[in-house]
Symmetry: C2
Subunit: 413 residues, 2 copies
């Protein structure tokens, strides 16, 4: 545990200042002072240090004339060139790589259309390494200029350990991508669940910037869940993010089912396969194509196809209702490429949630649908890495753990 010393004090306040500058764009020292409730003196000292470290820069050009008299404010903003980070997203059929600057602007990105779910972890690491090196050099940078790399992938990830416990796109389990890439690239590399990255991106850059609590449910081939709670990503006691697909949607009496087996695109397609095949006899089409077809048919009035989508929506709605009961988030964001944006899926979900929620929680949560671009994922990866560079000192002052060496002696006496 870290003790509370002047250094921690400064770290906390410096983070608040950085956070204010990041969130409120070019901003003057007085405004920072008001936002953070720090004294003008302290803000001045901290910004001086930040300027000295080249983490922030004054917005030159007489620029903003702020229509009052008095000494003009000097607007401060993040220095885009202060650091560069790389974000990587692993999806079943694609590896996306992007280089961003200190403001999380994507400078250069790269997409490798690879069906990685049939590759070994070692091959995937090779591909990621190549992609990162290429993307960095395309951006006119050297690998030594990169401050950090963050990889997002679906599945259960233990960020602290840098290990992917299990993923639908990896055959192996407990893959130590973090250390592996760190060694390969000579740059600190971390991994996290893809949904966590996009959740953080939403919190830093999205329309829910001002919310400290929301859920992100990602519906693609597999299901992902990101929880922002009290302004922090929620993780279970073991440091793992909860896996939405592992939630159960049926009681023992009715035969149990994992949500992933009922409401993911993969499961829906299996369900719909028979329906599709009997009208399109040339075998089961490819994933992306099949979902498009299913949605088209539902839109065209095919009741059975619509029913398949509705069933998935209702199952997910059931789980979402329970999550709302637990977390009471003001917003729930449903995202995904194909199915998640279909009314035939979303409306049953909405209805189910409304129907299942207790009256007291009926109005707390807005359910909104949003589609992410690759840029969002990369910004999330950037945010995850930049968070460390900003020096967020949280979780360091928790209650003292029992120190094994000492506890026995003391506990007994």
């Amino acid at each position: 545990m870290k003790t509370a010393d002047p250094e921690l004090m400064r770290a906390i306040n410096r983070f608040h200042v950085m956070d204010a500058i990041r969130r409120f764009g070019p901003v003057s020292r007085v405004e920072i002072s008001q936002l953070t409730e720090l004294s003008a003196t302290t803000v001045s000292a901290i910004t001086a240090a930040l300027l000295d470290d080249r983490l922030i820069i004054p917005l030159q050009v007489g620029a903003v004339r702020d229509a009052g008299r008095g000494r003009p404010r000097v607007m401060l903003k993040l220095n885009p060139g202060a650091a560069h980070v790389v974000g990587v997203k692993l999806a079943p059929d694609q590896i996306s790589v992007g280089v961003t600057n200190f403001c999380a602007d994507v400078l250069r990105s790269l997409a490798l259309p690879v069906r990685i779910d049939r590759q070994t972890a070692s091959v995937i690491a090779d591909l990621v390494e190549d992609g990162v090196r290429r993307c960095v050099s395309d951006a006119g940078l050297d690998i030594a200029d990169i401050s950090g790399v963050c990889v997002g992938l679906p599945g259960v990830v233990e960020r602290a350990a840098g290990v992917c416990r299990q993923s639908p796109i990896l055959q192996e389990r407990d893959v130590p991508f973090g250390d592996d890439l760190t060694h390969r690239l000579g740059v600190p590399a971390s991994i996290d669940s893809d949904v966590n990255l996009v959740t953080l991106a939403e919190h830093w850059f999205g329309q829910t910037r001002d919310l400290n609590d929301f859920l992100v449910v990602n519906v693609e081939r597999s299901l992902g869940l990101g929880i922002l709670h009290n302004g922090e990503l929620f993780r279970g006691a073991n440091g793992l993010s909860p896996d939405l697909g592992d939630l159960m949607v049926r009681p023992p009496g009715g035969g149990d089912a994992r949500l992933a087996d009922v409401a993911s695109e993969a499961s829906v397609l299996i369900e719909a396969e028979a329906l599709m095949r009997d009208r399109e006899p040339d075998g089961a089409p490819q994933t992306g194509r099949a979902m498009t077809l299913l949605l088209q048919r539902a839109a065209g009035g095919d009741k059975r196809c619509a029913r398949v989508l509705a069933a998935a929506g209702e199952a997910l709605g059931f789980a979402v209702a329970n999550l709302i009961t637990l977390f009471a988030p003001p917003k729930v964001i449903i995202s995904g490429r194909a199915m998640a944006t279909s009314e035939y899926f979303i409306e049953p979900l909405r209805k189910t949630v409304a129907h299942l929620l207790p009256p007291s929680l009926a109005d707390v949560s807005d359910i909104i649908v949003r589609e992410w671009s690759d840029g969002n994922w990369l910004q999330g990866a950037a945010a995850m890495t930049l968070r460390d560079l900003y020096g967020a000192p949280w979780g360091t002052t928790g209650p003292a753990p029992i120190r094994e060496a000492l506890a026995p002696q003391i506990g007994e006496s």
Copy 2:
């Protein structure tokens, strides 16, 4: 938001010292220094201030001879008389009141056998006020000696506002017990969910003292859920603790059901009523009695009675499995007076959880059964109040909220 200033530093470190003294009993300054990783100087200064405030006292008597030479350690402990607090537990058929000292030892307690579920909130407040005053005077104290009062009751409670949103033992909703009692007694009064109190008690005094994460599921007339996550009581975004009874246990396809309607003692008794009546024609017996009877019959080999209990256990197991998936707590504590301790209920619950959990989480959680005494609840209420007196300064340094007055101007520019 509180800024990080020297005062906060001191508050944090003082809390760590207090926490170490509380947790490790009589303990010397050197040991505190090792436990908290604070320097000996700082510990000395802080303990001096605490001694000055009479919050701690040296354990006099040459007492502990610690079998080494050198200056003997001065053992420090909490000063039991530093403060007194009152805990109140509202149950359907009883009001329990207890006075504890600064160490959360119960000095005097009092039980009023009242069926409060048929009284108005106003009458209940009358009874609580009388009970508190009586208990305080019985303990040889004056009401002015009391530093705080905490009331625990089943249902949905918004602690921060001091309001009980909804409770099975109150007809009214949004009852402002906190302010009401504060005015009546002239002492700061707070309320919280009863399970939260016992969860905190378990964390402070129970066998899970060293765990920062666990769940407490309380099964009595109604269902309660307490979550300790990262060493803190978990609350939803609105400050409410999640209500276990509002969780859903069936997917829309199979017809939905609130957990409270399937797995609480109240619901089980309704379910079993027919079974009981047809062999004991003198009408439905009283609640406590009926459950005893049901358990006896199940133990006696009555398959149908056992089945009713098993169904409840399985339904709760379903919910617990999902909670484990989310929170991954090393321990899950099932508590309650009657049903919760029956093998006919617990075994199906255990089996269901084991069956539903994904393999990766199969071994993370121990499910244990524990029965609380009234003392536990009262200690929880005491802990909840004492926490404030200890001056825990957490949650005060979160990211800066958007200040309404300022945000618009800044956000747009």
